[in-house]
């Protein structure tokens, strides 16, 4: 049945539908409503689960690791500073191959302190071995959490479902909530191959001397690569049950486009409006939205962007001293491809800065100009900077 839900509520309801057994989370803006709603479900008996109200995010993920290793389906949720505090444990969760699912309401990193949305936090932990899905709307948040459990438990990999803080987490949108029976059919109960059990003692997290360490890291890399096919397979299974289609990327009017926008998260919806307005004027502009940033859809992006003349990457994060993470990895995907499009990187929307249609149009114009002159003079640019504030010359 359809209901107006915020992103936080969508994530909480998805966790309930997935019949999670142990929730371990620490409140942090803008993720708090996820924790509050789950606490109500447990208090009202709507969800039979243990809710550990831990004393820090580092302990939040540590408790999830303990619970998942003991053989229960676990869930946690956090944002920016919390994600950074638990970043050491992100490596441990993926290294121990525990299928933990986490909802991350994207929020910028401090200092200076900011509670508003950008994707710097989940981007900063892209090397940790977690599958990372970025959602465009609250329906996708709910659906991605359900799909995340299938992907996680079949490949023994933790999955992070990211959605924009406030823009999605606190904005209500109509969301179709599937019935419990349908979800039980789509999502079988949780079975870990080697749980912590006194009847079959096992040692988890031993010392790995150089002679065997690299093999485990190689297996983790292969598992994250294998999660591409798994995400597609689970997306198809989801279409069969719930009639909503999800893949690694979303292509919007991109097949014959000369200029393409490449972005992630809720920025995709605003970009679609701009694409429509250009298309009305007969200009071949399209959009590709990356849903799965890890595993990075190299082949899919080569197919989707290969035919375009120029691509403008719009991303809400930057690696200071280099460029945006999406731009870096997309460039890496195209490095040995003969006919690669020209690429421009636009850093925008940091710290909750609004990315208006004017900014997106500026990105399209820059890409069109680059396509005409056939080269890119300045690859990395910033959109929406207010010079007056700090007397900057861009």
């Amino acid at each position: 049945m359809k209901q107006a839900l915020t992103g936080n509520e969508a994530a909480a309801i998805a966790a309930k539908l997935a019949r999670v057994k142990v929730i371990s989370a620490y409140p942090i803006t803008p993720q708090t409503a996820v924790v509050e709603r789950l606490a109500e479900f447990v208090a009202n008996g709507e969800l039979d689960a243990e809710f550990i109200k831990v004393e820090s995010e580092h302990s939040a993920l540590s408790a999830c690791i303990g619970a998942a290793a003991t053989g229960t389906r676990t869930f946690t949720a956090t944002s920016s500073q919390g994600l950074m505090l638990m970043s050491e444990m992100l490596f441990v969760a993926s290294g121990l191959r525990l299928p933990i699912v986490m909802a991350n309401a994207n929020r910028s990193l401090s200092a200076p302190l900011s509670i508003w949305c950008d994707q710097q936090d989940s981007m900063a932990v892209r090397d940790s071995g977690w599958v990372q899905l970025y959602c465009e709307n609250n329906q996708e948040v709910l659906d991605s959490v359900l799909q995340a459990y299938r992907v996680a438990e079949e490949l023994l990999l933790p999955v992070m479902v990211c959605f924009d803080g406030f823009i999605l987490s606190h904005t209500a949108e109509p969301v179709d909530i599937p019935g419990q029976a349908e979800v039980d059919e789509f999502l079988p109960p949780y079975k870990l191959p080697n749980p912590l059990d006194p009847c079959r003692p096992v040692t988890m997290g031993p010392v790995g001397v150089p002679e065997c360490y690299e093999e485990f890291r190689c297996m983790l890399q292969e598992a994250t690569r294998a999660s591409k096919e798994k995400l597609i397979e689970v997306g198809r299974a989801f279409w069969k049950h719930f009639r909503r289609r999800y893949g690694l990327i979303e292509r919007y009017r991109s097949n014959d486009a000369d200029v393409l926008l490449l972005t992630m998260g809720s920025l995709g919806s605003s970009a679609k409006d701009i694409v429509d307005s250009y298309r009305k004027r007969g200009e071949k502009v399209g959009l590709v939205r990356v849903r799965s940033f890890r595993p990075f859809p190299v082949k899919e992006l080569i197919d989707a962007l290969g035919s375009a003349k120029a691509v403008s990457v719009l991303e809400k994060d930057v690696s200071p001293g280099s460029a945006g993470a999406l731009f870096l990895d997309t460039a890496a995907a195209f490095i040995n491809v003969k006919r690669a499009p020209l690429m421009l990187d636009f850093i925008c929307g940091l710290g909750g800065r609004d990315v208006s249609s004017l900014h997106i149009r500026e990105a399209v114009r820059a890409a069109t100009r680059a396509a005409e002159i056939g080269e890119v003079r300045k690859a990395v640019r910033w959109l929406g900077l207010r010079e007056k504030l700090v007397g900057l010359r861009i």
């Binding site: 950074m84 910028s108 200076p112 900011s114 508003w116 090397d127 599958v131 890890r294 690696s319």
Partner: protein
């Protein structure tokens, strides 16, 4: 100049002593421990006037560094893998607050499985923090980079914390001959250590208040501008160091034997020494190969790299880390920088968790690059187990 045979960790301790660091908050973690033990020795024997804070965790170590640095004291800390990941939230904070702090990262693999040996996963995963990130090939370079790091970090145009990396055990616990500069010369090279405190009862100020969305982005852009400034300051500091002490490291990136080279291998850290040997032996056999030693990972020297790769057909990037679900970490930055040139780039991931990268491994990497001149490789990123 006093020449002595010293391990990488001892060298860092001497570098910190010569740089007159004042506050050293730190928490022990293998293989970094002998740095702090040596500093404790100096202080206990009155050779060094500094406050060694034995904090209860790496998270507290970076917190203490932030407090000390904003009070104007020259601050140093050192850590490895798990410790660096544990203080990750505060490394972002330190860079965002524009505080000059110098940190030695003795590279060690990330767990699990639990491993204390060297690879670069820990420091390369810190690429978005806003810290400058330098790599060292030899113990001499560790000492010189440590001293240069204080000058770069406290430069008015940069004002960003700097982390410099040395390979765990391969450098940290391996002794090499090192020349120790005299205290007077180092004092001449480094600015006065004491800066005005930002918190002062006479001029009460609030630090790090909350910028609303209309103000936040400009602070991040300021960091980007300081990174651009650092692209000038790092080579300048290196040249100035060479003028005073006779040793220089070609700034952010050192091309090695690229004259007439068709293929080159880019890497960072102590493995560069091995690559130099292999380049030499291959050159004797008439192979047109060379090496590019990456000294500064952040800021990433894109222009210098493009200039160095002008004549190249194929560039191999040997990453001692992996961004799981994608591939090499340095590989992505190199690919973005070399976009305009049509240089083919191959990524290799090798030497994780202390596994040696042998001459044979590097020889095989060069072979793959040479073969890639004609044949486009199926997979751009290959795992060298």
């Amino acid at each position: 100049m006093v020449a002595r045979v010293m391990s990488g960790n001892e060298v860092v301790a001497y570098g910190v002593k010569l740089s007159r660091a004042e506050i050293v908050p730190s928490y022990p973690i293998t293989p970094q421990t002998t740095i702090v033990e040596q500093i404790a020795e100096f202080i206990a024997n009155g050779e060094m006037r500094a406050e060694l804070m034995r904090v209860e965790s790496e998270y507290a170590a970076m917190g203490a560094c932030i407090g000390a640095s904003l009070m104007g004291a020259r601050t140093f800390t050192a850590t490895s893998s798990q410790g660096l990941a544990f203080m990750h939230e505060l490394t972002h904070w330190a860079a965002g607050s524009r505080l000059p702090i110098v940190m030695a990262v003795v590279n060690r693999a990330m767990a699990p499985p639990w491993n204390i040996w060297a690879d670069q996963q820990d420091v390369l995963s810190q690429r978005d923090t806003g810290w400058l990130s330098l790599f060292c090939e030899t113990n001499q370079e560790v000492l010189d980079t440590c001293i240069q790091a204080f000058r770069i970090s406290e430069d008015r145009e940069v004002l960003l914390p700097v982390m410099f990396s040395l390979d765990g055990f391969m450098l940290s616990h391996t002794s090499e001959p090192v020349e120790l500069p005299k205290q007077g010369d180092v004092d001449g090279f480094l600015p006065e250590s004491r800066r005005p405190p930002l918190l002062d009862v006479d001029h009460p100020t609030t630090l790090f208040n909350v910028p609303v969305p209309e103000q936040y982005m400009e602070f991040r852009h300021w960091i980007e501008k300081s990174m651009d400034a650092a692209r000038r300051v790092i080579p300048k500091a290196d040249r100035e160091f060479k003028r005073r002490f006779g040793r220089g490291y070609r700034g952010m990136l050192e091309p090695y034997w690229l004259e007439g080279a068709e293929v080159a291998l880019l890497t960072a850290g102590s493995v560069c020494g091995t690559v130099r040997d292999v380049v030499e032996s291959l050159r004797k056999r008439g192979e047109k190969v060379g090496m590019i030693k990456l000294r500064s990972f952040r800021p990433f020297p894109s222009e210098e790299l493009r200039r160095a790769c002008e004549g190249l057909r194929v560039l191999g990037v040997a990453d001692r880390a992996c961004s799981f679900g994608m591939g090499g970490i340095i590989f992505s930055d190199v690919s973005a920088a070399l976009q305009p040139l049509n240089v083919r780039v191959l990524g290799f991931i090798a030497g994780l968790g202390g596994r040696d990268i042998t001459h044979r491994d590097i020889w095989r990497m060069f072979k793959r690059c040479i073969r890639a001149i004609e044949v486009t490789p199926a997979r751009a990123i290959e795992w060298f187990v």
